[in-house]
């Protein structure tokens, strides 16, 4: 079979764990796929590679299918990996006493991975939920890596909206790290969005799905199998399967897996309410999306996952 090129928006993110793990477990091969994983610095770069046709499938956040729908680019997700966004709001160590709630962020510097990214949207949404102006905090792009840690620890920013593994790194370095919101946990996400919120997914151009239904099917099945594996294994077992360069410090990695298991989907299915939640957040942040007639149902399909579900997990 032809090689399927999957563009990952940063393979170090736990949110894309199933994509990488499926490869490690041999699940793609099992379903007759020859897969090449290509690592990108962030989801939007991965997406551009797919829109441009140099990669076939994105392993990225579902929300991008909505942004692109507003740009007349028809993309659809066909298997969900995360049912929660996995984004957390972390207070700078040393600012714990000044910041007790989201409302306290007004007038503060808050780090996001990049202006205009999901973390940025998330912050603005949070602020507005508290009845504040979405622009009440000043946004600083700090990336997902060591820059964010440096900025936070040096007190250049008062809080940061970030993802794993940065959250776990910070937690490891600062015992008393305060997470104001942690959407790796169902409770926090539910209270914020009133539903699940679709995070990492495999999605691609509708044309590609139409042209390669078998491959989409096989991908969905491989991921679903992997999801089952994740939820039936201990974090240590999972860590044992991952390539060493994507683990770094094992203890921290296992810890972050533990904290993230809840966010990883068990079925791979998209919950309609979770898609609605994403659309709501996106519309809130972008007048362009709010103004566009978006056919939400066209941006995802459960057809392949459903077809794959009956297969027994190992």
């Amino acid at each position: 079979a032809d090689t399927v090129r999957i563009a990952i928006g940063g393979s170090s993110c736990i949110c894309y764990l199933p994509t990488v793990l499926a490869e490690q477990l041999g699940n793609y091969e099992k379903h007759g796929l020859d897969v090449e994983l290509i690592d990108f610095k962030g989801g939007s770069a991965a997406l551009k590679a797919v829109v441009g046709g140099s990669a076939d499938v994105v392993s990225g956040y579902y929300e991008h299918t909505i942004s692109l729908a507003a740009k007349n680019q028809q993309l659809a997700s066909f298997v969900i990996m995360d049912r929660l966004p996995g984004i957390a709001l972390v207070v700078a160590p040393g600012k714990n006493d000044q910041i007790d709630s989201v409302a306290d962020l007004a007038g503060k510097n808050v780090g996001v991975t990049a202006p205009g990214s999901s973390t940025d949207f998330f912050l603005k949404y949070l602020l507005s939920r508290e009845g504040l102006d979405p622009n009440a905090a000043s946004v600083v792009g700090v990336g997902v890596g060591a820059t964010a840690v440096a900025a936070l620890e040096q007190g250049r920013i008062d809080a940061v909206v970030t993802l794993d593994p940065a959250i776990s790194q910070l937690k490891n370095r600062h015992e008393d790290l305060k997470l104001l919101v942690d959407t790796r946990k169902e409770a926090d996400a539910r209270s914020l969005f009133g539903a699940d919120y679709a995070g990492g997914a495999l999605y691609t151009r509708q044309e590609w799905i139409d042209a390669n239904p078998e491959q989409a099917q096989a991908l969905a099945a491989a991921i679903v199998d992997t999801l089952h594996y994740i939820h039936s294994s201990t974090p240590e077992e999972i860590a044992g399967q991952m390539p060493p360069e994507l683990i770094g410090d094992t203890a921290i990695y296992v810890e972050s897996l533990k904290n993230s298991l809840e966010m990883i989907s068990e079925t791979g299915l998209m919950d309609d309410a979770a898609a609605e939640a994403v659309l709501e957040v996106m519309s809130f942040n972008s007048p362009e999306i709010a103004g566009a007639e978006i056919d939400l149902a066209a941006t995802y399909t459960n057809e392949f996952v459903q077809a794959a579900a009956p297969q027994p997990a190992e």
């Binding site: 441009g52 942004s67 680019q73 700090v142 890596g145 250049r156």
Partner: protein, 261 residues
Amino acid sequence: MPRPVLLMLQILVAVFAIAFWWVLTRTSLFGDPSRIQFFFSTPMDVLNRIIAWFSSGQIWYHLWITLIEAALAFVIGTVAALILGFWLARRPRLAAVFDPYIKAANALPRVVLAPIFTLWFGLGIWSKVALGFTLVFFIVFFNVYQGVKEVNRTVLQNARMLGMSERQLLRHVYLPSALSWVFSSLHISIGFAVVGAVVGEYLGASAGLGYLIAQAEGMFDIAGVFAGMFVLSAFVLIIDWLVTLAERRLLIWQPDSDHHH
């Protein structure tokens, strides 16, 4: 070529380029325009965006930040490179010892160093200046170093025999002689200073053109990205023009290169 003719030809080139861009993104000659627009936007959209930025005045603040960063990186990088370049070029042994380290340092991917710059210089303009500095410095340094070595031998010997001290040699011989080398590297490094500032902002910042571009990119707003890059280019041309003015003044002694025939 008289200036107005030159200007007209230059504009003509722009008109052609824009026309091509328009055809590329507005007709289906080169494929599905909506997909191409996703990568290249369209001339009108970009123009509208630039107009919007300037008419709302929003751009000025960002432009100012980027200008400061690029200018500081340019000036500090150039001065440091001049000093180190002239100094090391006169101390060949020392230079030989440090040579591999300088070359190795030039090969470090600056993007990866961003966290360290943040650690040292914070998230404000200085970490961007540092990034720009690492680009400008090496470009100017290598040229200055070579420029000093290319000094005409007889002129140098004559100056020495006239009794010039090392300092006077620097001022009256090495510096003027290496000047066209320096200016060549300045023309290269202006662009890189701006790139450094913008990339720094792009990696982590709260203001500046790079920040605007990153924001636009995050929202798949390609018109915004292109608008940012055009503003950037315009801006570099202005700085370059100032450098060229300085160059003309300082290199007035050179014979016109004769381009006849």
